[in-house]
Each structure stands twice: as C-alpha cells, then as structure tokens.
C-alpha cells in the first residue's frame, strides 16, 4: 500500500534500523583519578628517593549534537605528577642490580585537548579530530581522520582511520645533565576494523593497528638511554561482547596481541562482567593479564662503557607480567551518572610468559577514580 510504504520511509518510524545516530542529547562529564605507584623496595634502591610517581588526573568531556547530523566531542585533561622515576640501573658492589632514582622530586603538569567532529549519515559516520598535548618540556600536535560504514542491514561494520602526530621534546636542565635539546618525533598510525553482530545478544570485533614512529625515541631523562630512531608497531585486537538477558548482565572479553621492531611481543587478556542491579546500579568486576618480552637492547644494568650502543634499562622495556583487578561501581540519579573505579595493578617478572631480562624497577600501582556526568 502506498501510504504504508511512504510511512515506513519516515525516520522516526524506522528508529531501530538507523544504526548511526548522532547524539541527541548533550552531556558533560568530569572525572578525577588518582594513580599512585608503590614505593621502590629499599633492597633495590642504591640512591635517590624510593617514592615513585603520584599522578592526579582531571578529565573533562563535553559531547553535544551540532545541527541534525553532527556530533562534537571535546576532551581535555590536566595531569599533575610528582615523585621520582628511575634514572639508571647499575650493579652495586654486592653484584645485585640496583636502581638509581632521579634525585629531586619531579613536579610536572600536562594539558591535553582533543576535539572531534563527527558526521553521521544513514549507513555510517566519519570524523576528523585534532589534538594537542603540552608539558613544560614537551609539545605535541596530532590530527586524524576515521570513518565507518555499515553493511548487511547494519549487522556488519567496517571502520578505518589514519592519524599523525608531531612531538617536540625540549628536556629541562639539558645543559646541567648533558641531555639532548630540541629533538622531535613523528608518528603515523592507521587502523582497520571489522565488527559483526552475531545475534541479538552478542557481538564480535577484530581490528588491526599499525603505527610507525620516527625520530627521537630515547628517554632523555634516563642516563645512558639510547634507542633506535624508528619503531614499527603492529597490534591485533579482538573483542567479544555478550549480554545475558536472564541475568541482566554483560560479559566483555578482549584479547590483544602486539609486536614491535624493538623486539617486544605482548599479549593482553581482559575479562569484565557488567552486572546490573535494578535500574540504577551497575557493578563491574574486571581482571586483566598482561605479559611482554624484553626489547632487544634492554639491559638490567646500564653499560656506560660504550655509549654508542643501543642500551636502555627502562623497566617498561623489560620482560615482565602483570595482573590487575578492578571494580567499577555505577549509579544513575535522573540525568546524573556517578562512577567509582578502584584498580590494583601488580607486576612481577615471575608472571611473565616470556623469557629474557627483567627489571628490579617494575612498578605496582593503585588507581582510583570518581566520575560524574550530566545529560541534558
């Protein structure tokens, strides 16, 4: 019937079929997070402060529709860090590897701004984004484009994107510590992902991300640190989501495999259980396992005798494993959503599934965050 056919073309009547809808409401959100690293065990500390980083992060987000087909997202964050970080590692007189921490307490601030404008159309969306990040010794600009398109009656989605960034690094006290001055790093990254709705209650997504860094990749604050001038990273991420109607809960499983030209391989496994209680509460326990191999040039104790060689004692390049557990609590009050997250992260070379050198400077941390968002 002509009337019915014409009626079915009306957007409001075919609401559920329209997969890509711009935000129809605005929301603002604020989150404060505290990230606190455990003290370095005294037995590994040769000299310096055992206190490690304490970071306080303030995040602000605004999401708002613009016109009928656009959505604008503004993210900004302000981080203030204090504490000390490992400066270099040597073998002490008793032959044990030991860490020399940076002497004075470091105080740093970082400001990030990111703006994304997304256009929605009947079978997909695309966006451009611009971002900047500033620290007193660091200045970064980034830009990106991504798009996604729905196929097969919105059951499948293909997405892809590219992004680029340029970082300028101007370490503080460069003359005093014979650090580099005025270095830069360029990054180009691309991703492709495919997602498929399996049925009403489950969904799978797989994505591949390739990133290339060129330029100064060394940590200017670590003594004797020298790394290659380029790095290629490949990451393959897989996500499975399943909703259990009878339990009013959702299970999220994630697996990520990673490989880079520094020689690091890693695997990440994530499992979360989103349990709803009534209409206004949600409790989400989650557990994560991570393990990586050491970079080819990682050394547990810096070798200062041949400074031209690639060499780093940065614990982030060591072989290790980590387990973290978290709990998120979410509650809704009318247009207000409150979230509280507590996470504990413990790392140990014994948790690693990879062989190779580990570091005594591995870090454990506790993260807490409190967020509020308001929809209007």
């Amino acid at each position: 019937m002509a009337l019915t056919a014409s009626a079915l073309a009306l957007p409001g009547i075919s609401v559920p079929a329209k997969a890509d809808t711009p935000p129809t409401e605005s929301s603002i959100g604020y989150r404060i997070s505290s990230y606190k690293e455990d003290k370095l065990p005294e037995k590994f500390l040769l000299t310096g402060s055992p206190e490690r980083y304490d970071i306080t992060i303030h995040q602000f987000q605004l999401v708002t529709p613009v016109g009928e087909n656009y959505g604008l997202t503004l993210n900004s964050s302000y981080e203030s860090m204090s504490g000390a970080s490992p400066w270099y590692a040597i073998r002490s007189f008793d032959g044990e590897k030991s860490i020399v921490m940076s002497g004075a307490t470091i105080h740093e601030q970082r400001r990030d701004y990111n703006l994304t404008m997304r256009r929605y159309h009947d079978n997909g969306n695309y966006a451009i984004s611009l971002g900047t990040s500033k620290e007193n010794d660091y200045d970064s600009w980034s830009g990106g484009f991504d798009m996604s398109r729905n196929f097969n009656d919105n059951q499948a989605t293909l997405s892809g994107g590219i992004s680029m960034s340029n970082d300028d690094i101007n370490p503080t006290d460069a003359a005093l510590f014979n650090r580099v001055m005025d270095e830069s790093k360029r990054t180009a990254s691309g991703f492709f992902s495919v997602s498929q709705i399996i049925n009403q209650n489950s969904f799978f997504q797989s994505s591949l991300n390739v990133t290339r860094h060129n330029g100064f990749l060394t940590d200017p604050y670590k003594l004797g640190d020298r790394r290659p001038e380029s790095k290629t990273q490949i990451a393959w991420s897989n996500a499975y989501r399943r909703f259990f109607t009878s339990l009013d809960a959702a299970m999220h499983l994630d697996l990520r495999l990673y490989d880079d030209s520094f020689g690091i391989n890693s695997v990440t496994l994530d499992a979360s259980w989103y349990q709803n209680y009534g209409d206004n509460w949600q409790i989400t326990p989650s557990i994560r396992y991570y393990s990586q191999s050491a970079a080819d040039f990682f050394t547990p104790a810096n070798d200062f005798s041949s400074p031209a060689l690639l060499n780093s004692s940065d614990y982030r390049l060591a072989a290790y494993g980590a387990v973290s557990g978290g709990l998120q609590l979410l509650t809704r009050l009318d247009n207000l959503t409150l979230t509280f997250v507590l996470e504990r992260y413990v790392t140990d070379d014994g948790y690693s599934i990879y062989g190779g050198y580990s570091s005594p400077a591995l870090v454990n941390f506790t993260r807490m965050s409190l967020g509020v968002s308001y929809t209007f």
Partner: protein, 317 residues
C-alpha cells in the same frame, strides 16, 4: 476516543499536554525507574516534534517555511521534514488532491467563531480567491529545499504530525525495551511492546451523543495504531446546519457525509491519514476505505455505523 487496558489494573499512567492535546502513556506493567526515565524521553520526543512542526511556534520549520511564502526563496529542510513532505505527497496522490497540507489558509475565511456569531457563510467569491493560494502542486520542491511561491500560501503538518509523533514514541519505547504499553495523543493511539495476546479496548465516542463521554462502540485492539477523523470533534451550527471544520481543498467548502471514521493500521500515521482521506471523500469514503483493506469503523451523519472492525457494546466484556 479513549483507551484502557482490558485488565482494569492499570499499573502506570503518565499524562502531559502537547500539540494542543492531552497525551497519555500507559504501561501494563509496574513501572521501573528506568522505564520512568524512558517515559520522560518519550514526552521529550513529542515536544521535539511539536517544536519542529507547530505552526504556532515562531521557530518551527513550519513557521519558517510559511513566513517565506511569496518571497521567492526556498528554505532548507532536514531529512525528517523531507520525508514528511514525501508522505504528504503520497496522501495527496492517494486522495486525488483532497488531502492537501496547503489547505490551511482556508481556515481564515472559515473563521467559525465569527461566522457562528454573525450566522453567515463566507461569500463564494472570497472562497474562490482564497483557493488560489491552495494547492500542493503549486509548491516547488527540490531535494532538501521547499519554496512556497505565492504570498499567503501556507503548509500545515497538523494532519500528520500528531500521528507521526505517536509512532515515534512507540518506536523509541520498543527500541528501549519498555512495554507492553499504549500511547495516546489527542485520540491517536498506538500500542507498543510485545503484546502477549492481551488486548486493549478503545472506546469510540458517539458523534451525536448528548454527553461528550457517551460511547457508541468499543473495539478490541492488540497491536498497531488507531486513529479517528470526524466532524464530531469540531463543528459549527450556522443557520441550523452543522458545518464540519474539515475543509475540502478543491471546493473550499466543509466536507459532508461521514461523521466519523476510525481506522486500524500498523502505523498510526497510516491509520490517521486513511481516516482523514475517507472523511474528505464524504459518502464515497466508505468504498475507498473498503478498497484500502484496512479495518475501519464509519459513523454516518444519521448515526449508523458500518465497517469491518468488530465492535462491542459497553459492558460486553
């Protein structure tokens, strides 16, 4: 028209006024807090459409289009408005020009408040002059744009948007998983949610009843939309004759023939326009709606009912 669940226990009622009509959302089950949040979202949707399409609101797209009439400019319209105009175009074609969203300017000469006081009818020459500004085919459309070429020309989504709003509300409710329930906006009704064989009874008001609440028939409805068009809602008595407020855009005169037509369809907007077209067609409306194949109930000016909807007298349950 009024709707109530067959089960006298109504668990949740939500009432508000929008689009110049009372609006009611009824949920069969106990309303959880999130359902309450969704219900307020449903009200928001009705208000969104009212703000967008009301010809009384200064910032609505309807007002912007109407204010541009005769200025030789075309107005940019969004996708939803474009699809509503496409729908209006289909109604125009299906009704051979009787369902015409440009017929609103005839209201100015059929100002019943004045005509009833003075007990006069508008002059034929005045009607003919006003008819020059009426005609959907005179509207100039391009993709994403509309232009009303003549001064004084206007469009009115009033005959479509209330029913469309009811469908939008039902679609959102179903997408958000609330229901079973029913939404009624000024007599236009739509059921939503998986109805488990449970039916709602809808009372059809007696167009000739002395009391406003007198009901001529009850019908049972399980799903879909239901809408009524008829002159019992609004009419004026001039020189002893009842004049409907529904105007024929071809003659410029009020329609005669059917007092009320109720139609059932999957979408309320289809039920509403089918009922309107039937009334606009007068006596021929019954044959037209029969051919359409949708369940209907007609009441003619002598109070006789006919149609394919099963009726129940009050107390028949």
């Amino acid at each position: 028209m009024s709707a109530t669940p067959s089960d006298p226990v109504k668990k949740f009622h939500y009432r508000f006024r929008a689009m110049g009509s009372p609006c009611e959302i009824i949920l069969e089950q106990e309303c959880k807090d999130t359902s309450r949040a969704v219900v307020s979202l449903l009200e928001k949707e009705v208000r969104r459409l009212e703000n967008q399409y009301s010809r009384f609101l200064p910032n609505s797209i309807t007002t912007r289009i109407n204010e541009s009439a005769g200025h030789g400019i075309s107005i940019a319209i969004d996708r939803e408005t474009e699809k509503l105009l496409d729908y209006a175009d289909t109604c125009y074609e299906q009704s051979d020009g009787l369902f015409d969203i440009t017929s609103g300017s005839l209201r100015k000469i059929w100002n019943y408040h004045d005509l009833e006081q003075k007990q006069v009818l508008p002059d034929d020459s005045v009607i003919r002059k006003e008819l020059e500004k009426v005609g959907w085919k005179k509207v100039e459309r391009q993709p994403g744009r509309i232009c009303l070429p003549l001064i004084g020309m206007e469009i009115d989504f009033g005959g479509i948007v209330k029913e469309y709003a009811v469908d939008c509300v039902a679609a959102i409710a179903e997408a958000r998983g609330i229901g079973p329930g029913i939404v009624e906006l000024g007599g236009d009704i739509r059921m939503f949610g998986n109805t488990t064989g449970e039916s709602w009874r809808v009372g059809i008001r007696d167009p000739h009843g002395a009391v406003l609440s007198s009901t001529i028939a009850f019908i049972k409805v399980q799903q879909g939309g239901i809408a009524t068009s008829g002159d019992y809602e609004r009419y004026s008595l001039i020189k002893g004759k009842k004049y409907s407020h529904i105007l024929n855009p071809l003659t410029g005169w009020p329609v005669e023939g059917l007092s009320s037509v109720t139609v059932l369809a999957d979408q309320c907007i289809v039920a509403g326009s089918a009922a309107s077209i039937a009334v606009l067609k007068g006596e021929k409306g019954i044959d037209w709606i029969k051919a359409l194949g949708l369940p209907f109930l007609c009441i003619d000016q002598r109070g006789r009912t006919s149609g394919t909807i099963e009726q129940f007298k009050q107390g028949g349950f």
